[in-house]
Amino acid sequence: MSGQTAVEARVARPRRTLRSRVQRVDSSVSPYLYISPFFILFAIFGLFPLGYTAWVALTDRTLLNPDTHFVGLLNFTNLIHDSYFWNAVENTMAIWLIATVPQLLIALFLAHLLNAKLRARTFFRMCVLLPQVTSLVAVSLIFTQLFSRQYGLVNYGLGAFGASHVDWESGRLSSWIALSVMVTWRWAGYNALIYLAAMQGIPEELYEAAAIDGAKSWKQFWNVTVPLLRPTIIFTVIVSTIGGLQLFTEPYLFEPLKQGATGGSARQYQTVVMYMYEKAFAGTQFNFGYAAAIGWAIFLLIAVISLINFLIVRRIRSVEH
């Protein structure tokens, strides 16, 4: 782009050779240099603890007792026969299902609405992000109050419609629903904005063409928007899966008595991470070896479910341009 006379080029050549050598080194080293902060930090604060956890899972390490013995796969075999673990898996999957599926559908629908020509567009768009601003602790406290058996707003509302009060915390399905409401409330707007952003990339001509073909807005949505959003939908499904299966703070703070972190008197809403926390930190056990094994099981669970989700969502029709 910048022109150079022949004279300048000749004069510049010797310098350019050194320079180009430097540039070659720069080109080959820089990429690794730039990604290294991330990997170094991950190595120190992510990988090392992981490796240590892998080791701990093969021992009977407890917090207070320094004597540790290698027990091989004992923790894992115990885990497979642990009905409380599978109960936690069931709870986690159920809450995740009830929370994620409606949530993403609502998010999609919301994004579609927010994409239209609206007055006070930015206001509405910011409103849906408000739940993200509210902290988890605050959300849990507030929602626990709302779902309280005797004094909660939800039961009050139910009573106003003539329905009977529900003991949200005590029931199995009811506690799942209450927790799912919390999760949906928190994440629907966030995902809606992600979809909305992606929708900005859809060219208008496609809508025009669909409109010409006689498609109403709803059909346009399904036939144009959704297929083109497929990569984004995959992204949100995977991120929601990873996050949803790690659910901890909401059920932890939902419990009236935090003594045991058992997820209710019958462990009706104990998630897998909560179970791991119970084994590691609650009560008197401090059974780190077992908790580490649970941690690895969680990792496996997340990986498998994410993969399944990925494969399912992939099958959304894609559009040939």
Partner: protein, 295 residues
């Protein structure tokens, strides 16, 4: 499935954009208003309770309008003789932690995202997958050894313990990469190289300005996430040197249950974030719309 036969002239009357994309009819507005109310209600309700005394929480029928006790409760909240946690320390701590982490994450994510997006090197795809793979690891998995690590470093109970592990984020790297791939034309980079820039020069002069929209989004999200982080600060900081979330939780597990005080605490904990959000959010949201984060 709608297809466009290229070259075919569009002959119909141009209908307004709103109709094409789905007009914002009354149903839309109604639904969005309901959504807005539902989104804001818990925040509003916590404000209501914070402005009453403690009896309002268990009032039946429930209280829905603000009272007059807010300043009184605020005074009690910051009176460390009355509550079991130093709330002011918590606010300062959270601000420091969230600010440092945000700047760091945005910077390092842009750096790594740039490398993955525009630089060619061996192992690029594999390493990118590795980055994404790190997101699969549940945070709580490495808590115990990480805690022990912090103790060995002498950082337990200090802010470094919550700052250091969060200085880079896979989500940020991924987000930046996707954005840079789509939105930074290679010509710009080539031009900068021709101008004599080394790779860092390209980064500094081309990439950083170009990623402003997504950097703002990432910055806001990171700030919010760090501000709201609960589990790890709870484990490594404890109630003596808390961040704001730990402080609120400590308030809530206090000896005497004073819900008005607790919700005053949550309200105060949300305020800084709300301010950041209101100030920057507008710019960011329109930035998203312009910049288009492609998944």
């Amino acid at each position: 499935m709608a297809t466009v036969a290229h070259g075919e002239r569009v002959r119909t009357r141009r209908r307004p954009l709103s109709r094409r994309l789905g007009s914002a009819g009354p149903f839309t507005y109604l639904f969005l208003i309901v959504v807005a109310v539902v989104s804001a209600f818990p925040l509003y309700w916590s404000f209501v309770i914070a402005s009453h005394d403690n009896s309002a929480v268990s009032a039946y029928p429930p209280v829905l309008t603000p009272g007059h006790e807010l300043f009184h409760n605020l005074g009690r909240l910051f009176n460390s003789g009355e509550v079991n946690v130093n709330f002011w320390t918590a606010l300062v701590n959270s601000t420091i932690v969230a600010s440092v982490v945000t700047v760091s994450v945005v910077f390092f994510s842009a750096l790594a995202g740039f490398a993955f997006a525009k630089l060619r090197f061996r192992g690029c795809s594999f390493l990118l997958v590795a980055v994404i793979g790190t997101m699969l690891v549940p945070v709580q998995l490495g808590v115990i050894p990480l805690y022990i690590e912090m103790v060995h470093l002498g950082w337990a109970n200090h802010l470094q313990a919550v700052i250091a592990p969060n200085l880079a984020a896979a989500f940020g790297v991924f987000l930046m990469r996707q954005y840079i791939v789509g939105s930074v034309p290679n010509e710009l980079i080539d031009a900068a190289r021709v101008d004599g820039c080394y790779t860092f020069g390209v980064f500094w002069h081309v990439i950083l300005p170009a990623v402003r929209p997504v950097a703002a989004v990432l910055g806001l999200l990171t700030f919010m996430t760090t501000w709201n982080d609960f589990f790890w600060p709870l484990v490594v900081l404890g109630p003596r040197n808390p961040t704001v979330q730990v402080a609120v939780s400590t308030l809530a597990s206090g000896y005497v249950q004073d819900y008005a005080l607790v919700l005053t605490g949550t309200f105060v904990s949300i305020l800084p974030l709300l301010v950041v959000f209101l100030v920057l959010g507008r710019y960011i949201i329109s930035g998203i719309m312009r910049g288009a984060v492609k998944g």
